[in-house]
C-alpha cells in the first residue's frame, strides 16, 4: 500500500512539471488567460494603423471618436457576453435596445411624462423583454437561437407599431426630455487630467456609462456566487443542477439582466444620434455577437470575460477606423471583420482542446 502511495505521489508531482512542447505551452497559457489574444490583436492593430496612417489615427480626437463609435455595440456586447456565457445567444438585443429608446422618447415627448419616468419605463421595458426571452427558453425548453430569432421580429414589430414608424426630431427630444440626450454630452478629459496627450480627447457620458456597467458586470461575474453559477450553467448545466444551482433561475436572471443592459444601451443610442429613430441599430445584434466572439468568449458557454468583450468591440472599432483612414472602402472593413471572427472561433476551438 505504502509503495503505491509514493508512486502516485510521484505521478502527481510529475504532473505539475510535465514537459510540454512550446506550442502546447502557448495553448495552455491561452487556456488560463483567454483574453491575451484579443489584447494582443488590439495592440497590434493600433501599432499597425499608427504606422500606416500616422498621426491622424493616433490623434486623441480620433481615438475618442473610435470609443464613441464602439460604445453602443460594446455596451450591448456586455449583455450579450452574459448570455453567451450560459451557452445561449440573444438575437433580439438590437430590437430590445431600439424598442426601449422608442419607449423612452415617446413617453417623454409624445405622452408628456417627466423624462425620469420615461427613462425608468424604458429600462423596465428592457427588463420585461429579457424576462420574456428567459421564460420562453426555460419554460418551453426551446433553443435560445430560435426563441430570440422570434422575439427579435416581435420586439421590432411592437417598436414599429408603437412608434408608427415616426422618428422624433432632435430638437423635440432636446426641448421635452434633455435627460435622454445626457448620454451624448461629453467632457474634455484635458480639463480634468492635464496631460499633454489627452489634449483633444473627449469622453461622452454614454461611454462613461458603458465603462461603469462593464466594470459592474465584470465584478458580478468574477467575484460573486451568481457569477460562478453563470459560468457553471454554461459549462455543464447537469453539473450545475447536481451541485444545487437553480439553472432555470440563473438563465432567467441572465436574460433579464441582458434586457436591462439593452435598455441602457437604448439610452446611450438616443444620446449618440440625438433623435429617437425606430430604424436605428439595424445590425446591432450581430455586431454585438461579433464583439463577444472576437473578444475570446466561447460560443459554447462557460468561458470568457467582459474585458475580452471590450477588447473585441475596440478591435472592430480600431480596424474599421484605421482601414477607413487608410483609404480603403467599406467592403474591405467588412471583409477584415469577417476574417477576424473566423480566426477568433478557430482559436477558441484549439484552446478548448487543451485537456485532451
Amino acid at each position: 500500500m505504502a509503495s503505491t502511495t509514493s508512486e502516485t505521489d510521484q505521478e502527481t508531482a510529475l504532473f505539475a512539471e510535465e514537459r510540454r512542447t512550446p506550442l502546447r505551452r502557448i495553448q495552455y497559457f491561452l487556456h488560463l488567460y483567454p483574453t491575451t489574444i484579443p489584447f494582443l490583436v488590439l495592440v497590434l492593430g493600433i501599432v499597425v494603423f499608427a504606422s500606416i496612417v500616422g498621426d491622424r489615427f493616433f490623434h486623441p480626437f480620433n481615438l475618442s471618436l473610435v470609443l464613441q463609435q464602439v460604445t453602443v455595440i460594446a455596451l450591448l456586447a456586455v449583455g450579450q457576453t452574459m448570455v453567451i456565457l450560459v451557452a445561449g445567444i440573444d438575437l433580439s438585443v438590437g430590437a430590445i435596445m431600439v424598442l426601449c429608446s422608442v419607449v423612452m422618447g415617446r413617453l417623454a415627448v409624445v405622452t408628456g411624462l417627466p423624462a425620469e419616468i420615461a427613462l425608468a419605463a424604458g429600462i423596465l421595458t428592457g427588463a420585461a423583454c429579457g424576462f420574456v426571452n428567459g421564460i420562453l427558453i426555460t419554460g418551453l425548453r426551446l433553443p435560445p437561437f430560435i426563441v430570440t430569432l422570434g422575439t427579435w421580429s416581435i420586439f421590432q414589430s411592437i417598436n414599429y407599431l408603437y412608434s408608427k414608424n415616426q422618428t422624433l426630431r432632435q430638437q423635440d427630444v432636446e426641448q421635452m426630455a434633455s435627460l435622454l440626450q445626457l448620454t451624448g454630452r461629453s467632457i474634455r478629459l484635458y480639463d480634468y487630467i492635464p496631460l499633454e496627450f489627452l489634449k483633444g480627447a473627449v469622453l461622452t457620458f454614454g461611454s462613461a456609462l458603458m465603462i461603469v456597467v462593464a466594470i459592474f458586470v465584470a465584478y458580478v461575474l468574477s467575484r460573486t456566487a451568481f457569477g460562478r453559477h453563470v459560468y457553471t450553467t454554461g459549462d455543464d448545466p447537469e453539473a450545475a443542477r447536481l451541485v444545487g444551482i437553480n439553472v432555470r433561475l440563473t438563465l432567467i436572471q441572465v436574460y433579464t439582466s441582458a434586457g436591462v443592459i439593452c435598455a441602457l444601451t437604448g439610452w446611450v443610442l438616443i444620446g449618440r444620434i440625438g433623435a429617437v429613430s425606430p430604424n436605428a441599430g439595424f445590425n446591432a445584434n450581430l455586431d454585438s455577437i461579433t464583439a463577444v466572439v472576437i473578444g475570446g468568449t466561447s460560443l459554447f458557454g462557460g468561458r470568457g470575460a467582459i474585458i475580452g468583450t471590450l477588447f473585441g468591440a475596440l478591435i472592430v472599432g480600431v480596424f474599421r477606423n484605421g482601414l477607413a483612414l487608410a483609404g480603403l472602402q467599406n467592403n474591405w472593413q467588412e471583409l477584415t471583420v469577417g476574417a477576424l471572427i473566423i480566426v477568433a472561433v478557430a482559436l477558441d476551438q484549439w484552446i478548448r482542446r487543451v485537456s485532451t
Binding site: T4, F15, T224, A239, V243, G244, G302
Partner: protein
C-alpha cells in the same frame, strides 16, 4: 408491508450501533415498470456498504430515492431513527448526505478551489461580503487546499488550475474531497472507478478507505467485483427491484455474489437489522412484530 417482518424494539444491534440510513418497503414504478419492488436498505455507521446488481436491477433507483433525486411511491426512509422525506438532492445534502456522481458534477472550466465550493460559495464576512456579496476567494482557496492536502490528493500549486486540465483520477479525487468536506453523515459514490485506469483506480480505492477511517459511512455503487470485494464491509445485492441479500465479502466468493445477482444461486438468509427506534408511533405502526 414488510415481508421479512423486522423487529422494532428487540435486538442488540440497534442499541450498540444504530444504523445511519435505512429504508423499508420502497416502491417506485415508472409506468408499468416496477423499478423498486418493496426494497429494503440498511447502512451501518462507519462501514463501506457496496451496492451491486445487474443492469436494470433498480440499484440506481434505490440510491436516487435515498438521496432525494426521486420520490418513492411507497415505503419509508429513516435516517438516525427519524423518518425523512427528501424532496431534492439539495435537501439530502443539507442533512449531511453527499453524493459523488458518476459524471462528478464538476465545472470543467472552473478551478479546483472553485469547484470544491460550487453551489455553496462563501462570502466575505465583512461589510463587503454583506452588501457587495463579494466571495471570500482566499478563504475558500485555503480551505480547499487544506482539504485536498489532508487527503493527499494535490500539490499546492494545482489549486487554481482548471479542473479540465487534470487527469481522470485527480478529478475523481476532487469530487471525493468535496463530498467528504461537506458530507457529515453519509457519502454516496456512484461508480467511482468506472472511468479510470488501473493506477488511478487504486488511488481512488485508497481514498475510499481513507474516508472510511474518518468515520464516515460510504455507500459504494460499483460494477467492479474485485474493487467491491477489496474495500466493502458488507455487500448489498440488488435483484429484480429488491434486496436479494446482504453478504460479507469474507464469507462469499465473487462468483457467489454474481450468482445471487443473476438468480443462479438462492440468496442466503440475511440477518435482519431492525429499524432504529424512533420512539414515534408512525414508524412502529408500519413495521409489525413477527
Amino acid at each position: 408491508m414488510d415481508p421479512k417482518g423486522l423487529d422494532v424494539s428487540g435486538s442488540d444491534v440497534s442499541v450498540g450501533h444504530p444504523p445511519v440510513l435505512q429504508a423499508r418497503g420502497l416502491v417506485k414504478r415508472y409506468g408499468r415498470v416496477v423499478a423498486l419492488d418493496h426494497a429494503d436498505f440498511d447502512l451501518l455507521p462507519g462501514e463501506i456498504l457496496a451496492v451491486i446488481g445487474d443492469n436494470g436491477a433498480g440499484k440506481t433507483t434505490l440510491i436516487k430515492a435515498l438521496v432525494g433525486a426521486i420520490q418513492p411511491d411507497a415505503g419509508q426512509i429513516v435516517m438516525d431513527g427519524k423518518p425523512i422525506h427528501f424532496r431534492s438532492p439539495i435537501e439530502a445534502r443539507a442533512a449531511g448526505i453527499e453524493t459523488v456522481y458518476q459524471n462528478l458534477a464538476l465545472a470543467p472550466a472552473l478551478s479546483v478551489a472553485e469547484n470544491m465550493f460550487l453551489g455553496r460559495e462563501r462570502r466575505k464576512s465583512n461589510w463587503v461580503g454583506k452588501y457587495l456579496r463579494t466571495l471570500d476567494r482566499n478563504g475558500m482557496r485555503k480551505e480547499a487546499r487544506d482539504r485536498l492536502a489532508a487527503l493527499g490528493i494535490l500539490t499546492v500549486q494545482n489549486i487554481d488550475q482548471p479542473v479540465e486540465s487534470l487527469s481522470g483520477g485527480q478529478r475523481q479525487g476532487i469530487a471525493v474531497a468535496r463530498a467528504t468536506a461537506f458530507g457529515t453523515r453519509v457519502v454516496v459514490m456512484d461508480e467511482p472507478t468506472a472511468a479510470l485506469g488501473v493506477k488511478e483506480s487504486r488511488r481512488v480505492l485508497e481514498l475510499i478507505i481513507d474516508v472510511k477511517s474518518r468515520g464516515l459511512p460510504i455507500i459504494l455503487i460499483s460494477h467492479n467485483m474485485p474493487h467491491v470485494f477489496e474495500v466493502a464491509d458488507r455487500i448489498h445485492i440488488h435483484r429484480l427491484g429488491q434486496r436479494a441479500a446482504v453478504i460479507k465479502p469474507d464469507e462469499y466468493s465473487m462468483s457467489d455474489a454474481v450468482a445471487i445477482m443473476t438468480g443462479a444461486m438462492q440468496p442466503p438468509d440475511t440477518e435482519a437489522i431492525p429499524l432504529a427506534d424512533t420512539g414515534r408511533s408512525t414508524v412502529s405502526g408500519v413495521v409489525h412484530v413477527p
